[in-house]
């Protein structure tokens, strides 16, 4: 907490100094570098920053605020206004080939304050970079490419946040690299970090729930069981076809020994994810999809309430409808979008009956978004979820309207 406060104080002072002592004309906006060969792994640096003159420090961030009116089985919580998140970035070029970037996030007001990313990158060669600090584990695409202003939907994907633990970052070290070849780019990443703990099968969600590990506030200073979590990803992108990523994350989640005493066998959690995104040239339709499979080694004597296998994902379609100056905004875009998502938290069959274990959700989210600039989005969503309990009883139906704004600053 002290570190967070210190970082914040540093950030505020930096901004104040910048505005108080430097001619505002010296403040230079550095646009996001995203181009047709940018990958999801580049998202952490492909953000708009504000640079002060020729100083090596760049600042940035984004904000998200939402309104929603949802009802579940005829019962509504009414009108809800929510300060979803405020995220601050500080990037610094320490030398020509050493850089630092941090991302500090305030969620739901100040209910959650997290350092989501704080890493030093050393570039030895394009194919060999070393990264250390708090890194975002490259599982799927959303975890690394999660900034609110990039998305046409108010909510983050259910599979990314309620099955996979996005935003999922841990302390660790690793390497990454890229190779460009005219229309192609190939990339890899591999990190060893602290990992999961036994909360993934002992939590108040009453299901195997990887995000429960994030409740462990000690995970940035010590590993729960001394076993590292390996996260690795390979990705390839073609300028015309799109990007395909394949990622793996695996490690031990239980405390199998303590003080030299063996308590249990090592129990693994393994995740495999595939992600794809492309833009259909003629229609300019953007398609972005991610799917993940999770396997957890759960003791046979534990309850079937906690699934051994999970799977889920989402697919987004974003169709620009109008791309022209609007209301004085030169490059405004009006989009129609649609998200389909599905998560099965417990894939398997009951021992007692042989019937299917349910515990799944299907969701459809049509959306309209308006982007006065590429960095800012105003979005309007209608969400409808069908969620079945573990027994597969008639689904609980949740639906309603969501409105939100999100912008880099």
């Amino acid at each position: 907490m002290k570190r967070i406060i210190a970082l914040l104080v540093f950030y505020v002072l930096l901004v104040q100094v910048a505005f108080a002592q430097i001619d505002p004309e010296l403040l230079r906006r550095v646009p996001a570098k995203a181009d047709s060969l940018s990958l999801n792994m580049d998202a952490v640096y492909d953000r708009p920053f504000l640079q002060i003159g020729k100083t090596p420090v760049a600042l940035g961030g984004y904000v998200e605020a939402n309104y929603q009116y949802l009802g579940e089985n005829g019962i509504s919580e009414g009108h809800q206004f929510k300060m979803q998140r405020l995220t601050l970035f500080v990037a610094s070029s320490i030398s020509k080939r050493i850089k630092f970037l941090t991302e500090i996030e305030f969620e739901d007001g100040t209910k959650e304050i997290n350092i989501e990313f704080a890493s030093v990158d050393f570039e030895f060669a394009p194919l060999l970079n070393f990264r250390g600090g708090i890194v975002m584990n490259p599982i799927g695409a959303f975890n690394q490419n999660h900034d609110g202003p990039k998305w046409e939907f108010v909510d983050r994907p259910i599979s990314a946040t309620q099955m996979l633990p996005a935003t999922w970052s841990n302390v660790g070290f690793g390497i990454y690299g890229k190779k460009y070849n005219t229309d192609w780019v190939y990339a890899y990443e591999a990190y060893l970090t602290n990992g999961f703990d036994d909360k993934i099968i002992a939590n108040t969600q009453n299901r195997t729930f990887l995000p429960a590990t994030k409740e462990n506030k000690d995970r940035f200073e010590e590993s729960f069981n001394g076993s590292p979590l390996l996260t690795a990803k390979v990705a390839v992108r073609n300028r015309k076809i799109g990007e395909l990523g394949l990622s793996f994350m695996g490690g031990i989640y239980n405390k199998f020994q303590e003080d030299g005493i063996i308590l249990d066998k090592k129990r693994a959690v393994n995740v495999v994810a595939v992600d794809f995104n492309t833009t259909i040239p003629e229609l300019k339709t953007y398609i972005n999809a991610e799917w993940a499979w999770i396997n957890v080694d759960i003791p046979d004597t534990y309850t079937e309430q906690f699934g051994r296998k999970q799977q889920g994902g989402f697919i987004d379609f974003v169709q620009p409808l109008l791309k022209r100056p609007m209301f004085g905004f030169e490059s405004a875009v009006l989009n129609a979008a649609l998200r389909l998502e599905y998560v099965d938290w417990n894939k398997g069959k009951f021992k007692s009956t042989g019937s299917n274990i349910s515990d799944e959700v299907f969701s459809i989210v049509p959306a309209i978004s308006w982007r006065p600039t590429a960095q800012t989005v105003i979005r309007f969503n209608y969400r409808y979820n069908w969620q079945k309990d573990i027994l597969g009883n008639p689904p609980s139906r949740l639906g309603g309207f969501q409105f939100g704004i999100s912008t880099y600053f």
């Binding site: 005829g74 004597t301 109008l322 609007m326 007692s352 027994l391 009883n393 309207f401 409105f403």
Partner: protein, 400 residues
């Protein structure tokens, strides 16, 4: 601002406000008669608040090892076994073990009477000890329990005929049970040899909803309370893991859950089915109408209701004799289960029926045909019905 821009803006505003105003695009509430949860009518505001507290504790509070789960357990929350307050699924069926005779459970020192068949990591669950007999109990629906709790002992005894004096082959009797130390007896309770009438549980071995709740926290979830303070694994006295207030709230919630509402009561086939139900004497045990006495909850006082039970023990014959005795209820005796809500069972049992005490019957008809003992004559009468009459009877039962 151009005309086109105004049109686009206007359209967006109309869409946004139109949709927000249109509640019809939000999921509608299911019909009141199609669900089992919800409170009885007539609660005061403070009682409604307590009902909601109990609802949260019952349905939303999930126990973890950190909050006291286990170490041996059957389920992680109350709601796990009673989805939507309805009947449970074999996934959370309880197993009780003991022996055939009624000299008292000889396996208490080995974890009896209830098997905790699940364990948190690093622990091993129980197994049924050698030589023990056992029976499986599917979780019952919770609805209308407060009404059943408020029936007077006098009324229950009027339904009993332990020696079959009327000669109809049906001889219901109460299960006389010893009370736990924390129990508070109902006003005007009838006592026999220091024992009271049990009303709840498959063998009517539980006196009231406080005992039911405290025992379930202990035996089903492994949660100790000041009422049931012993750890189910070591058998040692431990600190409470749930507050008295929470247990009291849950008891209140269970007492004030509404009774199931019959559907299609006026349908001619349903009416005809009800007549057949009476004609073949099903209603002699599954008593169609009862009334409550005075209750501290005025919404429960002096109410007439239709539970289709007499809360008494009946010999159901060798087919349903699992060889397990509980209290004075011998192995072939079972408390008449209420039939109200039976038509909604599929909605809490994953779209299938799991009926009778252990869920062995996969349809209402199968459940009827598995009746024996005191219900043998009714079963034979059912078998002699025409297909149309059987269908009407089933339709009536599904309307409950």
């Amino acid at each position: 601002m151009g005309r086109k821009h105004l049109i686009v803006l206007g359209m967006m505003v109309v869409i946004i406000f139109g949709l927000v105003a249109c509640e019809k695009l939000l999921p509608s509430a299911p019909a009141d008669d199609s669900v089992l949860d919800g409170p009885i009518e007539g609660l005061t505001p403070e009682q409604s608040v307590q009902f909601l507290r109990g609802d949260v504790a019952f349905n939303d509070e999930i126990f973890t090892p950190e909050t006291g789960l286990g170490p041996l357990f059957v389920a992680t929350s109350c709601g796990t076994c009673h989805a939507g307050d309805g009947k449970g699924h074999p996934f959370t069926t309880l197993t009780r073990f003991g022996q055939r005779d009624s000299i008292g459970n000889q396996f208490l020192h080995l974890g009896g009477p209830q098997l905790q068949n699940r364990a948190i990591y690093n622990y091993l669950p129980e197994n049924i000890p050698a030589g023990a007999t056992f029976s499986k109990f599917t979780p019952p629906a919770n609805t209308g329990l407060g009404l059943l709790d408020a029936v007077t002992d006098t009324d229950l005894l009027l339904l009993a005929d332990p020696d079959d004096i009327d000669g109809d082959g049906i001889s219901g009797r109460p299960n006389w049970v010893a009370l736990p130390l924390y129990a508070t007896t109902r006003p005007n309770s009838i006592i026999r040899n220091g024992k009271y009438i049990g009303r709840f549980g498959k063998k009517a071995s539980t006196y009231d909803l406080l005992q039911q709740t405290a025992t379930a926290y202990s035996q089903d979830i492994g949660i100790a309370s000041t009422y049931e303070p012993y750890d189910t694994y070591h058998g040692q006295l431990i600190d409470p893991e749930v507050s008295n207030q929470t247990i009291i709230d849950v008891v209140f919630y269970l007492k004030t859950l509404k009774a199931p509402i019959q559907r299609n009561a006026g349908n001619p086939d349903v009416v005809a089915g009800k007549n057949i139900f009476t004609q073949i004497s099903c209603g002699k045990c599954h008593v169609p109408e009862m009334k409550t006495g005075a209750s501290t909850i005025s919404a429960l006082s002096f109410k007439t209701f239709a539970p289709y039970t007499d809360m008494l023990l009946h010999d159901m014959g060798p087919g349903l004799d699992d060889g397990y005795t509980e209290g004075t209820a011998v192995s072939s005796e079972w408390r008449t289960p209420p039939l109200w809500g039976i038509g909604l069972s599929k909605k809490s049992q994953g779209g299938q029926y799991f009926l009778l005490h252990d869920g062995r019957a996969r349809s209402i008809e199968e459940a009827i045909l598995l009746h024996g003992g005191e219900a043998q004559n009714s079963k034979i009468s059912y078998q002699e019905l025409t297909a149309t009459e059987k269908a009407k009877l089933i339709k009536f039962l599904e309307s409950l």
